[in-house]
Each structure stands twice: as C-alpha cells, then as structure tokens.
Symmetry: D2
Subunit: 344 residues, 4 copies
C-alpha cells in the first residue's frame, strides 16, 4: 500500500533489461552514443517537431532549472503558482541556475493559472523601469501539484496571454505522460501546439530510474543548454545509461502504458474513496494524484497497517485530516482495494 | 581496442545485477532508503572514519563542484594544477557552484604539486587586503591527469603546507581506486591520514554506471552539502539506484578488484610499448593512464584499424605525435596485445 | 513644488562645505583615512554600540544588498513585506548579492509586519527538509514605503518573533533619521535595543549627496562585509568624500535637524490636505511621506502648474486618483502652501 | 611628497565648484537629469561616436565588472594580463558580476599583450567542446599597471587578433586620459578606431571625487547595462552629482589638462631619477607611473622624511629595493624636486 509518491515505485522491468543490454562493451561518452541519436529522433517524431533540441538529465530539478536558466536573464522573474515544484520543492534551484532571478507567484485556486491571474501578476511589471525586475518566462506544471490537469484550451489561453506580453512558456512535465494519458491527446497538442516553448518530459516519476528529457522547440537554444548542463555537473559521461532508459521508455509507448496504468489505479482509488461517506475528495483527481479528507482515526489505522501516504495535517485527536495519495505505474488493484478496506 | 577513456567502458555485471535487485517494490526516496544507510556505514568503515559525512552524486563534476562549494567562499580562490579536471574539464562548474570563486594555478611539472610550488602560488595571497581574492582550499587530484599517482608522503607534505597556511585540502578522487591500488595503501592512508579534508571517491570511471561518493571528514558540513546538492539538482528521488551501485562496488572490494584490473591492463600496455623502439613513454604511468609518442603513420594505422584513443597532435604527415591511452577494468589482454601489434 | 521623492532634493550646504574642506591635498584611500575613523567613532557613540562594525557605501541598494548578503546563505529566504524596497525597487539586488536567495513576502496591511504575519510566513518553512529553501533573516523598513513608522514595541515584538525562530533582523533604514525624529527616540532604541542585528543608516534621502552607513552590532561580520563591498565595486578609492559627507551629517545632529524639517513639512502638508473635503488621506503619515486621494482634475491642475509628485492612477477622466507626496529636508512652507492652494 | 597613488590626490577645484553649483533645488533622480544629457552628448562628441551608449558609475571596479558582465556569458573566460586590475585588485568582481566566468591570463612581459601572446592563450580554447569554458572578451588596460601605454597600432593588432576569433575587446581606461595625453591621440583613435568595443573612461584617478564613464560603441547594450547597474546597486538616486563631476571634467578639456599635468610631473620625476646613478628605472614610464629600484637605505630615508610611495620589497637591510611612484594631476614641481633631493 504505497501512495506516498510516484518516485518511490520501481522501474519497469523493460527498463532494467534495457540497461543490461546497453552494458555491452565500449560506448562513446557524453551523449554522442548511437542510442542518444535514436532517442533524439524518436522524441522529435513523437512530438512532431523535427527541429527540436532534445537533451537528457537525471533529475526533474535539473530539468526545470536548466531549462529556465536558458529562458531567463538574472534580472527577470519567472511566473509560476505558489505550489509549483520550482517554488516549493527545489531549494532555490531556479534562482541558482538563473543567476538570481526571482519567482513571482500567480494565483491558481485549482492549482492552475488562468489568463486573468497571469495577467494580474505580469501586467504590473510590464514596461517598468530598471528599478524593477523584468518579466521573464511563465512556467506551468501539468499534472499540477494539486492533481489537476490543464485542459488544452486553458494552456493555450494562458500561453496566448504570455505570448501577447512577449513572454516564453515553460512546462514542468515531470508527469507529462500522466497528463497526456488523462487528456487522450498527443504530445504535440500538449506542448508546442498549445504554445509551450520548452518542457521537461519526465520519466523518473513514471517508471524510469532517473531520466528526464528537456525539449526546446527553438533549436537555437541547444548549445547554451549543453554548456549549462555541463557547468551544472549534469552531463553524464556514461550517458548511454540515460539514453537506454529513455529508449526503452519510448519503445512501444511504454511511457503511455505506464501512465495509463497509474491513472487507472488512481481512478479506482477515487471511485472507492467516493463511495465512502466519511471521505471527502478535495480537488479533481485528473490523473494519478488525489487529495482527500477523512477522520484522523482512519489516518492512524492506515499508517499502522503499513500504508505509506502523506497526512497533510497532524493526525492525533479527532476530526478530519487531509491526505495526499499518489499512484505509480506499478500500483496493483489488490493494493488499492486493501487500502480502501482500511478506510471503510 | 578501446583506450579513449575509462568512462566509456561497461559497468561490472554485478552492478547491473544490483540495480535489478534494487528494483523491487517501493523504496523511500531521496537517500533515506536502507541501502544508503549500509553504504554510509560501509564507507565509514573502509575509510576508518566513523563520523564522516557521506553523500552520493551521479557525476564527477558534481562531486567536485559541490564539495568545493562547501569549502570556498565566493571571494576565495582554489589552488589546483593547470591540468586539473576542475580547471580544464568542468566548464566552470567550480566557479558556478562557489558563487564565482577563482582558481589559481599551481605549477606541477609531473602533474603533481609540491609544497614549494604550492607555497609559491599561495604566499603572495596571504594576508592581503580586500582588493585581492583570498586563499581558499587546495584541490589535489590522484591519479593525476598525467597518469601519475601522488606518493603518500607527497600528499602529506602538500597538505601540511596547506594546513600551515590555514587552508583545507580537497582531493578529486575520480580515480581514487586506481591510485589506492597503485600505492597498495588503505583509503584512510590516502585521505585523512595524509591530511585530506574532503574527497570524491569515484565509481563512474571504474565500473559503475554513474556514482561518486563525496566524503567530508568533518561531519559538520553534511547539512550544507545536502542543501547545495538539492539546490544543484543533484539529489536523486530514486536514490536507491545510486546506493545500489555503490553497495555493489564496495561489496567484496569490487572497487579494488576492478581498479587493479585496469592498472594491470595498463602495465601490460606500458610493458609492450616500452619494447617498441619507436614509441617513447612521456610520463610515469603509475596507474591506468599512459602518455606516449610514436610515429604519425602508426597513429593513422591504429585509428584505421578501429583503435579508440586520443591522438594529442595532428596525425597527418610525418614525425611523432603524442597519444593518451586509458585502460578500464574490462580491458582484456587480447585487446591490448592486438593494439600493440598494430604499433609494432 | 517638489514632492516626488526625498532623493531629488539638494544636499545641505554644510555637506558641500565639508566636501570642499575634505578636498585638501592627499588622503589615504579606501577608507583608512582619519575622517573615517572619526565617523566610525561617532556612529558607535550615537548608537551606543562601542563594538559595532561601521561601513559606508554610496547607495541604499548597495547598503541593503551587501548587509543581507552577510546575513543570508544562498539557499535561504529573506522575509520582507510586499512593498519593501528590496522586493520592489532594487531589480533583484538582494538575489544577486546573496547568490540567489529568495524573498518571502510577509503580510503587512499598514506597511508593517506583525509578529503574527511574520510567524505565518516563517513557520511553514521551519524545520523543513532540503527540498525547501530555509528561513533566513527578517528585513524590516522604517519609515515604511507606506509612510508609516514602526512603533518601537512593534519592532521589538517582530524581532522577538524572529529571534525565537533563530532568525536575524535587518533594518532598511534609508529613512532611519525620519523614523527616529518621528518617534523621538534614540538610534539605539530604534536598533539594537529593539532587536535589530544590522541596519543601514541612510543619508542619501536626507540631505547627503549619496552615503549610507551600514552598521552591524556583531563586529565579527566586518571582514566579510568589506570583502563583499570590494567585490561588489562599492569600495571607494577616494573614500574621504564619503566620510566627509557622513561626518558633516553627524555633526551637531544635522541628520536629525534635516529629518525633523522634512517631517515638519509633511505634517504641514497633511494638515492642509486634511482640511480639504475632496482629499482623502490613505495611510497614517508618520514621517515625511503621505498617500492621499483626490479628484483627477486636481491631479492635472497640479501637474500642469509644475508640481512634481507621483499620481498612482491614470489621471485622465473623472473621479479620484491616488497620489504619493514626499517631503525632503529642504521643503519650504511656501512651496507646501502653494501646492495646497492648487488643490483647494 | 605623495606618490602612492593617483587616487589619493584631491579633486580639481572646478569639480568641487560644479558640485556646489549642481546643488540647487530639485533634480530628477537616477540619471534622467539634464546634466546627464549634456554629459552623454559631450562624450559622444569627444569620442566621435554619436550612437554610443554612455553611463556613469562611481568606481573603477564597478565600471569594469559591469561592462564585462554585459560582454561575457557565465561559461566564458575573459582574457587579460596577470597584472590587470580585474585580475589583481577587484576581489573577484568580474567573476561575481558575470555569474562565475573565468579570467585567463595572457603573457605580457612589458605589461602589454601582443597578438601572439593573445593567440597563445585563446587558440587552445577555440572550438572546444562543452567540457571547457569558452572564449570570451579580451580586456586590455592602458595605462597598464606597469606604467606602459599601448601604442595605437599595438592595440589595433591585438584587437584584430581578437576580432579574427570572434571576440569582443574591452578597455579598462581607469587612466584613459593619461594614455591619451601620452599618445597625443584622440579618444576615438584610442578606442573604437583601434577596435575597442567598450571601455571605461576614468575620472576618479584624474581629479574627480569618484566617477567613471562606461561607453559601449554598440548602443544595443544600453538596457542590459542599466539593469545590471541597478541590480548591482550602482545607480545613484542623486545622479546629478555624478553628472556634474563628469561635466566639469569634460569642460574645456579639464580631463586632458589634468592628465598632462600628471604625466609632466612623472616626466620630471623620471628625468630626475635617471640622473641618479644608484637609481635604475625598471619599465618605460610612458604616462604617470614609474617603477624603479634604488638602495634600501634611501627607501628608509624617503619614508622617514614623509614621502608616500610603495616599496615593493622589504626595505630593511642592504641592497636595492623596488619602488612604484605615481603622479597625480596636483603634483607640484617642488614636491617632486624635494623627493628627488632625498634620493640624491
């Protein structure tokens, strides 16, 4: 019964097999191996972006911070929501990699910006003198940290609002696969067709050991990214082991298969929770994350029974406490049902 | 016939097996898994340093830059040799991670500092006013980028000279295992007993996929290191796959076995080269790297035959050109002999 | 009729005289001149802090950013209000000088924090893992950017709340003199006795050409400050011209005389405005800044008549628009009355 | 008898008068005052560069570091000589302002680069992979820290070598006026006509209180410079006091008059020294700095008699010690002769 995070689940066996297969003799280091060529070609194909600049790094924080550093001057500010990973969970990595840029928080009641909340944050900074930090890129996240998934037209509307102000749009796609699966759309629809300039295409939370692709639709950024990646210590000498993971991930749409599996597990969980009167669902659970509220006594019972999940309030005493539950690709129906039975 | 770099060889099969074994169900992320506990304990044991602060990162550049950032204020300068990896091969990562510190070059004719060359670089900066950058740590490398290995008493002498000036000593140990094997000494002798304050204990060049341990003998640095690691994007969520590699590396002294194998391959290569009249060895090849010089025609013949190595001069025309040859743990005698036969 | 800013008024004639007097022959550069000794001694005396570390810089932004850089690690966050100069008006200087720290905004309805609003901002960051930026210093401003002046007990209460959480307290005292004059308190009462660890003691907005003193009550910071100042390009070679300004400022309490004059001008302005039915005062005008609201037609009339002040809303059309009016030490009664007559 | 530095002499009386004259009523802050307009126009005229971007800062370190920050990406390296002010005397300000760029040292036996020594430093970095820092701008200094002045054709040759490699050229012109006076050339000849892209036009060492103009011949840099200046805390609110100094400096060629005076004082000093058998001149003293060597006993006698200058070796005991002597605009013949008599 593991619902703490999708980064605590195992890698898919095919990924381990791919690593073993890649472990054959010598390979050119630093990403000039043949498998990286195949990964680049395949990602360009999947994203319908034959010119895209494609790079691999091993962590989501590196993917975000390096991408944003290529899009932001030190005296600019990045627009994101208060619960964005770049604001809340990266210990200032974007500030570090950009050379001291700011993050400006955009209202997002359901975890998602609107064109209006973005405008409310950006417009006071437009056309300002040198006393003020200057508007930089907008950074969206989908699946959001609230479990919601931006509808395509909402991304497009926000991206339009950004573009109308001369701002680029970045997408933190740590759970891009889950969002794509939830929307039933293509990667192109969820990225450049919706106005995204750069994104991370996450694998770590979705069945890899640790690989994220960073994709820029403007290929001119490639050289700067690669210099920043090396300078940040994120260029792997034995890069073949990153490429191999990503290659397995893309083969036969394993990435989508795993994301669908995680989302289905979450749907089963949500369905079960919604049948329980004393459980209140707190946000729309569009993909593989659900927030809910239930009695503290049940929190305690579940934890004691070995269920791993985050209780977001203290769980001593009476009354409800909130919980965050995340499903990964490997979550089984049995596990979900066992957890549900604990809450019944 | 692969002598380009030890980072292009395969991982040891036991490491792949360890990854597969680690890929079992859920594990706590971010380095709080049980395998990291075992790795920490084992490294403290091997280094005879029960209080040491131990951390894993995936690249040598990250290991160096993060360690140095914890030892250097932005207005200080790091003392290293001209051919040090931190000076030559990290695209300014130390400058980036330290917040803009300098690197001051110390003379090292055989790739290694002496107490005198260090003093010559440091002393003009001692006691200087605020106009000057201030002396920071000394960073040594062994195996050096010239293939030499610091004798223990030379490290101690240099470290004494540093300490006498109030400076800490860092060791870039990307090839620590090869140095240890070459010297036949213990890890403690090659580190804190010789006056080293912090080091990287490299695995990537010696049979892992990508893991380096960073060890501080002063445990007070641990928290700062971990904040800098996260901020740098180098904290792995699925950290168990780093721990598992390192655990396999330490088990049954696999790290030493592999290093000895690489050094032995190099020794066989050196022995063969020294029998060839038209080949001149350029530096003492103390571990697994050899520099030599031989006729350009033989460079061309070897490359055409598929040998992978760095020719350090243009290889068109007549006369000798220099070569760098590196052996990894997996180098076979057959390969070495085949290469030697090409040069005969 | 100049109410745009107190940084647009002239320097006091005695300051110019002091510059001329200082311009006599040779003087040791870089702040080791005799006048800096006198300034240091006098500031320590005025602040009743015989050990304080005292430094001069030429701009308020430098004073704030350098002081905060000595109090903040790169992975920490500074707590300030949304309208703080460091947040709004320094183009990210604190982020730059700290090496990429964040600023976390504390609620302050009247321009001033309370212990509770501070706690609400700090407490969620206390004891957090490495994923989060860590709590750094609290930065207060008095006179605030809303024209209010922190009562002494309110500073003390906020500083206590900070200290209880292990946080240092910085005071942006660009208008320290005006606050001191408004409160009728001593500099010690408005600083270390209220729990302030470091402050800028501003002169630029109060009759100097451009000098701010930075004072740390912990003298151990001195060396770091001086290194950061030099590295930031803020150490003046001909430092005597900074010292001379500050010396004249301190002599015969000129700083207080000028601040009282500015505050008195503002009080006269406020009294006049409050007699006008169509003018609404917006915040308590505790020192030399007043915010008010009056009909757009009067904005236009005043601007056309040559009054210099900031209209904070567009002034075309009907209805009220807000204005900010700032008085400097040189503001004459005639000017104030002439301005008031335009609004009558 | 003051020969320690030209930054220890007084400002010219006309500069003090200009400050007093500028101290009249209100002036728009932050460099939008009328006097800055006049300064900009006049500098463009003097430099025959009607489009040049012109900015004022108060220190030479700020001028250099801000200019270089606009010309250098964080992963690049600046080429300069070992004795350059940016390398030796700015406590890492260029590293700080550029976000961690390196400085690569170019050989310069007489204090000046040649196209060949520049090429020897640059060429090994041309076309390198991401492992290496990338070539950035070349930074020259004239008058050099050895007292020499680059002949115009030598600047042009070095700048050509830079441009041929795609590199920009920066000139640290802290003593630009002295160099210009020494060469008898125009400012345009000593800057853009010789291939300089950006320079500081120093005033602080030549009779101002503290002002340097930074000039970019490419006006596209203006906005970035102004953002960096503000972010660095170097934008003066009461900017009129910088403008006024510079305006007085430019009026009636006061800058040239003062530089000629300093150079003439130095020439008189050199002539006197060269008549003394026991004094050896060490470098060509092309402008206002002279290096020489004379008996330690005379060092002691001169210091005891109150002469201020830098002895570059310990002065106890026997034999010669080196001295650096710098003349400023206010140096009188009497002073020089009195000093010479001490050495006789």
């Amino acid at each position: 019964m593991y619902f703490a995070s999708d980064n605590a689940g195992p890698a898919h066996p095919r990924v381990i097999e791919a690593l073993a297969a890649a472990n054959d003799g010598y390979a050119m280091p630093y990403g000039v191996d043949a498998s990286m060529e195949r990964v680049r070609d395949r990602l360009r194909e999947i994203f319908e972006a034959p010119e895209a600049s494609v790079h691999l790094v091993a962590t989501g924080t590196a993917a975000n911070a390096l991408a944003l550093a290529c899009m932001t001057r030190p005296w600019e500010t990045v627009f994101c929501t208060r619960m964005a990973h770049i604001e809340e969970d990266e210990c200032g990595a974007p500030e570090f990699y950009t050379g001291g840029a700011k993050l400006t928080l955009v209202d997002a009641p359901d975890g998602m910006m609107t064109p209006d909340t973005l405008a409310a944050a950006v417009d006071p900074l437009m056309g300002r003198a040198v006393h003020n930090v200057q508007p930089g890129p907008v950074s969206l996240t989908t699946v959001t940290e609230r479990g919601s998934v931006y509808p395509l037209d909402r991304i497009a509307a926000v991206a339009d609002a950004a573009r109308a102000r001369g701002l680029k749009v970045h997408l933190d796609g740590a759970r891009f696969a889950n969002a794509c699966a939830a929307l039933g759309c293509t990667p192109a629809e969820l990225s450049w067709r919706a106005g995204i300039d750069a994104l991370s295409f996450g694998g770590t939370k979705n069945g890899l050991l640790g690989v994220e692709a960073v994709i820029f639709f403007d290929p001119a950024v490639a050289r700067e990214f690669e210099l920043r990646r090396k300078r940040g210590g994120h260029l792997f000498s034995k890069h073949r082991y990153l490429s191999a993971q990503m290659e397995a991930y893309l083969a036969d749409d394993l990435w989508l298969t795993m994301a669908r599996s995680a989302n289905a597990a979450c749907a089963r969980l949500v369905a079960g929770l919604s049948r329980l009167d004393h459980v209140t669902l707190l946000h729309p659970a569009d993909a593989n994350i659900v927030f809910c509220r239930f009695p503290r006594a049940l929190h305690r019972r579940a934890h004691e029974a070995g269920a791993a999940f985050y209780s977001l309030d203290p769980i001593e005493g009476e009354g409800d406490a909130r919980a965050r539950l995340v499903c990964d690709w490997s979550a089984s129906d049995e596990n979900t049902d066992r957890f549900l039975s604990l809450l019944a």
